[in-house]
């Protein structure tokens, strides 16, 4: 039987994670990212992993890649010199946005500068109505006349976005053809292709962002493909998208904006996959790293999807402060709560943690690299949760004195608290922030947290997971094996997928089955063709959702619908589906009020990689501790000596009683007084709430 040798690598801002799955055996490493040529660092890491596993490049059977390159290009404004061509009268839509003052009283509110400045935003006469019928013909001469100023400005990419192009793309296509003829080599993005949805600001923003990163990403992908080829890799290669599916290099080069946020998507896919593997119906995925915490609710092993994401938020984690892009993303909440999050006391004498982060440099005070501000990691050191020696696999010895000094100086002294109590306050606040984010995320989606299992991964999550679970009333926490490179592991479990979307505005009182069927058929064909590029023979799964709302409302609800031809009499079926979802979210319906449908979405994917269900644990074995460690006990708010365990030495079936500490190379799991822990057959650590 042929070997399965699958490799994934995730290029992040600081580290590149590489994972090799060799017939189920995992080999992984982390290397520093090489920003000048990201593929170089990745290839070095890949070579190291292959060497460790004794595998040659031609033996690879699958390669999956995720990258933050597109996101970084936008944040650092290192994309292509881009122009926008839009309808006369709308030159400033990109800049006006929706005028929302996301920080109400901040007079000097800082918005991200548009990716295209005003001097590079051009308008032409043309206009369609909301049904896509031409009101003003496209002024082709005016489009052609733009070639000269675009050439003169050294434009590398053009976004074309006309009003109502979601309903009829003819004017955009004609303008693109004229520009392409006059400007060979310039990449052109159509708003109707990248985001055929109603609401001009978000559509234009998405088109411009795609155009902005396209030349960079296209060259990068070509270079990467060549480099991998030269290295001897000959297997199918895919890219991870923000929506949690894999796509081909060819599709990615056309829609590179869909690659942002691929890392966190990989984490969510890992959690979903584990849920399927372990038969967990409802989980809360908790990914806490150095800078942020990501929380995602997953039911029946399927993460919830969304079509809205903001890049380059100027006010970190504040909605509305970034550039909106409408792309498929996995629905999650991300907050500024990581190991490096900085703690302080604000003007109102409250402890605040994050969103600012000490990052890797200078890092927390305990790193001894010049950082002086206290962080969550410093608090964890003071509280005994992290040992000063053996951090990061033994590569770093932490300075506990510096951690205590920073906590005392910035938190303890201002509040009149001793260092331990101040550190406890920092930990409690960051844990409460994460619990609060989870609660709000659940409520906003009409979900309950009750009965969920938390899956905790990322370097900092196991340190805080049990306490966050206590706050949320969650009784079971799973800390998976190889959690430190969770996103890359998730890449290997993702299906090949594509999502097509189209705005077709209608009211159910005037339901036009023919128009809907035509739009949905086109979407199925489009999405199928994209997936077939990477999976020519695989069975495919297609699903349909619609963005619906009661007439006049400003917020839509995503409603799953059966993917089958609609009949003229199907309006009541759609109404019932909408009202079931609406009632789940808001606990009521509005009888008699008409319903509007704005947008239709079809997702086509290969089936999720099947997993073999794991049994929970072997026969119970009492684990043997390797010593004791004094840690701060939140229950009693004092230090207690607790057993210390080496996770690598815990065999399946090993049982540990809380409070205790389980240490491993990349992280530490804190088993609080309220929990016991056990290792299952797959090596996952399962924390279970004690009987109350």
């Amino acid at each position: 039987m042929a070997r399965s040798v699958r490799l994934a690598f995730d290029i992040g801002g600081t580290f590149t994670d590489i994972v090799l799955d060799l017939d189920g055996r995992m080999v992984s490493t982390k290397v520093l990212t090489t920003p000048d040529a990201p593929e170089r660092g990745a290839l070095e890491g890949i070579a190291a992993v292959l060497a460790e596993a004794g595998v040659t490049p031609p033996e690879l059977t699958l390669l999956v890649h995720g990258t933050t390159l597109a996101t970084n290009a936008i944040i650092e404004r290192k994309g292509a010199k881009t122009a926008l061509v839009t309808t006369a009268g709308f030159r400033d839509s990109l800049e006006m946005a929706y005028e929302n003052r996301f920080e109400q009283y901040d007079m000097y509110i800082e918005k991200p500068a548009p990716l295209v400045p005003r001097r590079l935003r051009f308008t032409v006469q043309e206009r369609l109505n909301a049904r896509g019928q031409p009101l003003v013909p496209l002024d082709e001469a005016a489009v052609a006349a733009l070639a000269a100023p675009l050439r003169e400005a050294g434009i590398e990419a053009v976004a074309v976005g006309f009003l109502h192009s979601y309903a009829n793309d003819a004017h955009e296509r004609r303008a693109a053809a004229l520009l392409a003829e006059a400007l060979p080599g310039v990449r052109i993005t159509l708003s109707s292709e990248v985001c055929p949805e109603i609401r001009e600001y978000e559509r234009l923003s998405t088109a411009v962002a795609n155009a902005y990163v396209q030349p960079l990403m296209a060259s990068y992908l070509v270079a990467l493909e060549r480099a991998l080829g030269a290295f001897g890799v000959a297997c199918p290669m895919f890219l991870m998208t923000s929506g949690g599916g894999l796509t081909t290099f060819e599709t990615a080069a056309r829609f590179p904006i869909r690659l942002v946020e691929s890392g966190p998507a990989g984490g969510a896919i890992l959690a979903a996959s584990l849920a399927g593997e372990l038969g967990l119906g409802r989980i809360l995925s908790f990914d806490m790293g150095g800078t942020t915490a990501k929380i995602c609710l997953i039911d029946e092993a399927a993460p919830q999807k969304s079509r809205f994401f903001e890049v380059d938020r100027r006010y970190r984690f504040v909605k509305g402060s970034g550039l909106p892009v409408r792309i498929p993303v996995i629905e999650m909440v991300e907050i500024g709560a990581g190991g490096g999050s900085i703690a302080a006391v604000d003007a109102t004498r409250r402890i605040v943690v994050g969103p600012d982060s000490a990052g890797a440099a200078p890092g927390p005070a305990c790193y001894g690299r010049g950082g002086t501000e206290p962080t969550v990691t410093d608090a964890d050191v003071v509280l005994g949760r992290i040992a000063a020696d053996g951090f990061a696999g033994g590569r770093l010895t932490l300075d506990a004195t510096a951690a205590a000094a920073a906590i005392g100086r910035s938190v303890g002294t201002p509040l009149g608290l001793d260092v331990a109590t101040a550190a406890y306050g920092v930990a409690e606040i960051v844990e409460e922030n994460m619990a609060s984010a989870a609660r709000v995320h659940a409520v906003e989606r009409g979900k309950s947290l009750e009965g969920r299992v938390m899956i905790a991964f990322g370097g900092a999550a196991p340190l805080h997971a049990a306490r966050v679970a206590e706050k949320l009333g969650i009784d079971t926490v799973l800390v998976p094996a190889s959690a430190g490179v969770g996103s890359a592991v998730g890449f290997l479990r993702a299906p090949i997928a594509f999502e097509g979307v189209r705005s077709l505005y209608l009211r159910l009182s005037a339901f036009d089955a023919g128009a809907v069927n035509a739009a949905v058929e086109a979407l199925v064909a489009e999405a199928t063709a994209e997936v077939r590029r990477g999976a020519p023979d695989a069975p495919l799964i297609a699903t349909l959702t619609a963005d619906m709302r009661y007439r006049g409302q400003g917020h839509e609800v995503v409603v799953p619908l059966p993917l089958e031809p609609f009949e003229p009499g199907h309006a009541p079926t759609l109404r019932a589906a909408f009202e079931a979802r609406y009632a789940a979210l808001y606990g009521r319906t509005i009888p008699g009020l008409d319903i509007e449908v704005l947008t239709w979405t079809v997702s086509v994917s290969t089936p999720v990689v099947p997993v073999v269900p794991a049994t929970e644990a072997g026969p119970a074995i009492d684990a043997r501790s390797v010593g004791t460690r004094p840690i701060h006990d939140p229950a009693t708010e004092r230090f207690v000596g607790v057993p210390l365990y080496d996770r690598a030495a815990l065999a399946p079936g090993a049982r540990v009683t809380g409070p205790s500490v389980i240490a491993e190379a990349q992280t530490t799991t804190i088993v609080t007084r309220g929990f016991d822990a056990a290792v299952d057959r797959a090596g996952h650590l399962r924390l279970t709430r004690k009987e109350r």
């Binding site: 006369a88 009268g89 709308f90 400033d92 839509s93 990109l94 800049e95 006006m96 929706y98 005028e99 929302n100 003052r101 996301f102 920080e103 109400q104 009283y105 901040d106 007079m107 509110i109 918005k111 548009p114 400045p117 005003r118 206009r127 109505n129 909301a130 009003l163 109502h164 979601y166 109603i198 609401r199 001009e200 604000d346 003007a347 109102t348 004498r349 409250r350 402890i351 509040l415 608290l417 406890y424 306050g425 409690e428 606040i429 409460e432 922030n433 609060s436 709000v440 409520v443 906003e444 009661y550 007439r551 006049g552 409302q553 400003g554 917020h555 808001y586 606990g587 009521r588 009020l593």
Partner: protein, 487 residues
């Protein structure tokens, strides 16, 4: 204890945020979903403001003051499951279409904490649909007055009371949907408050709230004292009254206890729509003085306790019934905030009145939901976005407006001065509209209107019942109060 109180108070703030979000997501009128003309709060039994989310500064005092009217009116006649509305400039409110909806909640038999929402309704009678009346002389021309009225008693809908409210609207279905959304959101908040008090204990919750209020007061008072301590200055301007310019004069003094506003010398205008209620006066004064800190300090009663204001009875800062108040937020609030900042020596402007249009079917239609043509915004003095006093509204998408209303936005762009020029064509049906063109501080108009209909183009000032025939084109210039930050 500090940490525990902080955690409990942050949970309470999360409940208020959720209340506000839910109203925005589930309401039906554009005034709430896009205009965000509402606020959400949790109050104590006193009532004190425990926490508040407001999308515009005009609500600062008025949720609490309106709730106080409800508690006063019903005293010992409030029960779990009751829902009470009040919407009256002379019962703790301001502009007439704003209803405050209060859901009393009893925990261990006492009114400990309860939620409330203050929101603008699409139409509540008055002379014209939509409450934009630039010449209103009496409050009833703006809208009907609702003194405290129970629409739920012990959880049971009082159909007669609700019918009375809805029958006083030309947008009955929209008002009904908005009220339903608000009541449902309040019920969810009540449940969340019960969970909070059950989990943490009533005493801890009360301690946390009291502590947060004391903190906000202490921090804001210290900030005022540090920046303006001992300051005592007077500033004045005029308001365009029905019978000519009306003086608006404010003496601003800052002491250890906060901000004192003395509006002696302010004139009266019993026949114009620019009168503001005492709660509005304090609110605009508070925001003017503390804007630089308000995103950092928890918004609760501690802030409200810092401002005292006095004004001559019958003046435009403390009017008497039946003086109209409909345009007080649109103009007088801006002017007062500017005066307070001038008196405090603050150069940065928060104000920036904007032109407004409300369109409706020709008068006489039984169901006549108004449409606010809020196409764009004036440019803030700081060069980006709308002024602070415009609040956190969002601009409608041109495409969505056309798909929904058949009002075709033909453009909205900055001109060379930074002003936004917008144009909309009526492809819908014959309409009428009221126009309000505010006067700038220098007496000139702030912005402009042009109407092109049936072959003729003419400029417009403030006006009522202006016909906009099918195909009619309205062009609006929103003024620039600063220089546009170059994109």
């Amino acid at each position: 204890m500090i940490v525990r109180s902080q955690i409990v108070y942050s949970r309470l703030c999360a409940i208020v945020r959720e209340l506000a979000e839910t109203v925005g997501r589930t309401a039906r009128s554009r005034g709430l979903t896009e205009g965000r003309r509402y606020a959400a709060a949790v109050l104590t039994g006193a009532p004190q403001l425990a926490a508040q989310v407001q999308f515009g500064p005009e609500h600062a005092y008025l949720v609490r003051d309106s709730a106080a009217t409800v508690l006063d009116r019903f005293a010992f006649n409030l029960f779990d499951g009751d829902v009470v509305i009040v919407g009256d400039p002379y019962s703790g409110g301001s502009t007439p279409q704003m209803l405050t909806v209060v859901a009393p909640l009893f925990f261990e038999g006492e009114l400990v904490l309860f939620p409330a929402v203050r929101a603008q309704m699409a139409d509540l009678a008055g002379e014209f649909p939509g409450d934009l009346h630039p010449f209103a002389a009496e409050t009833w021309q703006d809208a009907v007055r609702f003194t405290p009225l129970k629409i739920y008693r012990h959880g049971v809908l009082q159909r007669d009371a609700l019918r009375f409210v809805l029958r006083n609207s030309r947008a009955e279905k929209i008002v009904a949907a908005d009220l339903e959304a608000i009541v449902a959101a309040l019920r969810a908040s009540c449940a969340a408050l019960v969970r909070l008090m059950t989990e943490h204990g009533r005493a801890d919750v009360e301690t946390a709230v009291a502590s947060a209020i004391a903190h906000s007061r202490r921090v804001a008072a210290a900030d005022l004292e540090a920046r303006f301590g001992g300051r005592d200055e007077t500033a004045e301007a005029t308001i365009p009254g029905a019978g000519g310019a009306v003086p608006l004069k404010v003496r601003v003094a800052v002491g250890p206890d906060g901000l004192t506003l003395d509006l002696a010398g302010t004139g009266s205008d019993p026949s114009g729509p620019f009168n503001m209620t005492p709660g509005q006066v304090k609110g605009y004064g508070l925001v003017a003085a503390l804007a630089e800190r308000l995103d950092e300090i928890a918004f609760n009663d501690g802030l409200l306790q810092l401002v005292t204001a006095t004004a001559p009875k019958g003046s435009i800062a403390d009017p008497v019934l039946p003086a109209a108040t409909g345009l007080s937020d649109a103009l007088t609030g801006h002017r007062l905030a500017a005066l307070v900042r001038r008196a405090l020596g603050l150069a940065e402007r928060l104000d920036g009145p904007a032109p407004a249009i409300v369109a409706f079917r020709p008068i006489g239609a039984e169901e006549n939901p108004p449409v606010a043509l809020d196409l764009a915004f004036p440019l803030a003095a700081q060069g980006w976005g709308p002024p602070v006093l415009a609040g956190r509204r969002t601009m409608p998408s041109a495409e969505e407006m056309e798909a929904r209303e058949r009002l075709v936005v033909l453009g909205r762009e900055f001109d060379e001065t930074g002003a936004v020029r917008a144009a909309v064509r009526n492809d819908r049906m014959p309409l009428e509209a009221n126009f309000f063109l505010p006067q700038a501080a220098d007496g000139a108009t702030a912005g402009s209107f042009t109407l092109t209909a049936e072959g003729a183009t003419r400029p417009l000032e403030s006006a009522t019942i202006v016909p906009i025939a099918e195909g009619g084109l309205v062009e609006i210039t929103y003024p620039a109060y600063g220089t546009r930050a170059d994109g």
